[in-house]
């Protein structure tokens, strides 16, 4: 097992991944990075984007949003705000979220001050990421 890496992806509602993998690639806040076995200890924050991991030649892709990642002792733990395999992406929901966020941003532009622009932008980014990965963007 010396050249495998234990990957854990945990969200507040469940553990999404718990597997030995060959390579994991994650969207860090400062850019995408890959982690293989025996990586030096690392602590990084995550951006909204795609992560994937490779196991026995197979690649699994996930939509990830926010959180952080810790690597130590051949173990990579990603604590994400949300994470789901791309097959599980709810396209309908993402589309609705996208429309809602766009509408809010538009309203914010027309003088309504009670709208949290940062939150709407984050929501839009999450929705777009999901749609892109699900092949609907």
């Amino acid at each position: 097992m010396a050249n495998k890496l234990l990957l854990e992806v945990v969200t507040p509602s469940r553990q999404v991944v718990n597997e030995e993998v060959d390579l994991a690639t994650a969207p860090g806040a400062d850019g995408v990075f890959g982690v293989m076995a025996n990586h030096a200890p690392l602590l990084a924050t995550m951006a909204i984007g795609e992560m994937h991991y490779e196991k026995d030649g197979k690649i699994v892709r996930l939509a990830l949003s926010g959180g952080f990642c810790e690597v130590s002792n051949n173990r990579m733990t990603i604590l994400a705000e949300s994470a789901e395999p791309i097959e599980d992406i709810d396209v309908e929901r993402a589309l609705r979220a996208k429309e809602r966020a766009e509408k809010r941003l538009q309203e914010a532009a027309t003088a309504r001050e009670d709208i949290d622009i940062a939150r709407a932008q984050a929501a839009l980014a999450r929705a777009l990421n999901r749609l892109k990965l699900a092949g609907h963007g």
């Binding site: 969200t11 200890p41 959180g67 733990t77």
Partner: protein
């Protein structure tokens, strides 16, 4: 002595009550399972979060982070997490009593206590007191969402940063086991490195000395991003525990109610039988008396 009809009606009434309490008991048992599962699924996330926070903040300088700022406490906020619904024994009352005691102590120490509520029961109680309620979120315990915790967390952080409040504590119904739930206090803001590193020590002993981490971005920046999230995580954990505790408390109290109904039904049945016997005896006496009189 009540009439036969009255007793019978009463028995029917108690039986119906019993059906309801029994159903509530079973519903609570089913919901408890779900709530407990969610709580347990969340635990690794919360633990890991606390670990990493402990690691990061160990060397951090508190004055560099606004959320770690220790100020002289003038206004101290207590976030009371209760359930939305009643009929769960003394569960909410226990939390409220513990809060009252704490608030009283704060007052005596010369700080002005204010309140934020999650859950309807706490909110409706504190409305009738003199304490100022600065925030309330109700009807959210049926389906606990990260979003709710995030909103409450954002509000608390905003007030803390505006120096509107100087300290935040949280009280919730900690789930110890199905029979025991305990009101528990937990400091939220300012974030202290002592509070964080507690959970970390065991892990450290296991893994031996820590290697130096590569940080991306810089540790201060990571910490700045994680701190607000950590507040939310703690609030969410408290909510999940409170829901599980509520269900456990309801299950126990509804079970007690069902048993009490059984006792009442037994008593009433005894009373009914006695009354019926008395009526029959009375009638027999009449018949015998009549027959005697006819014999002359």
């Amino acid at each position: 002595m009540p009439s036969l009809k009255d007793i019978q009606l009463k028995i029917v009434g108690v039986k119906k009550t019993q059906q309801i309490t029994k159903a509530m008991n079973m519903v609570a048992a089913a919901k408890l399972r779900g709530a407990q599962e969610r709580m347990e699924e969340f635990r690794p996330y919360a633990d890991k979060f606390a670990n990493v926070m402990g690691e990061l903040s160990g060397g951090a300088n508190p004055s560099a982070f606004p959320l770690m700022a220790q100020r002289e406490v003038k206004r101290s906020l207590l976030l009371v997490v209760t359930s939305d619904r009643g009929l769960c024994g003394a569960f909410n009352t226990n939390i409220i009593n513990a809060s009252e005691k704490y608030l009283q102590a704060e007052k005596e120490a010369g700080r002005e206590p204010v309140i934020a509520c999650i859950g309807k029961k706490g909110a409706s109680y504190f409305k009738h007191t003199d304490y100022e309620i600065v925030h309330e979120t109700i009807d959210c315990m049926g389906d606990v969402q990260m979003l709710t915790a995030r909103q409450v967390g954002a509000e608390l952080i905003r007030m803390f940063l505006a120096e509107d409040i100087d300290q935040v504590k949280l009280v919730y119904g900690r789930f110890i086991n199905v029979a025991v739930q305990k009101p528990t206090f937990r400091p939220i803001l300012p974030i202290t490195s002592e509070g964080l590193s507690q959970g970390d020590k065991e892990a450290e002993a296991e893994e031996g000395p820590k290697a130096t981490y590569i940080y991306e971005p810089a540790p201060e920046e990571i910490l700045n991003q994680l701190m607000p999230m950590f507040v939310n995580v703690q609030i969410l954990a408290a909510m999940l525990e409170t829901v599980a505790s509520e269900m456990a408390a309801r299950m126990t109290s509804m079970d007690n109610a069902t048993n009490a109904c059984n006792d009442i039904i037994n008593d009433l049945t005894l009373m009914f039988n006695k009354a019926r016997q008395a009526a029959i005896t009375g009638e027999l006496m009449d018949i015998v008396g009549g027959a005697e009189a006819l014999k002359g």
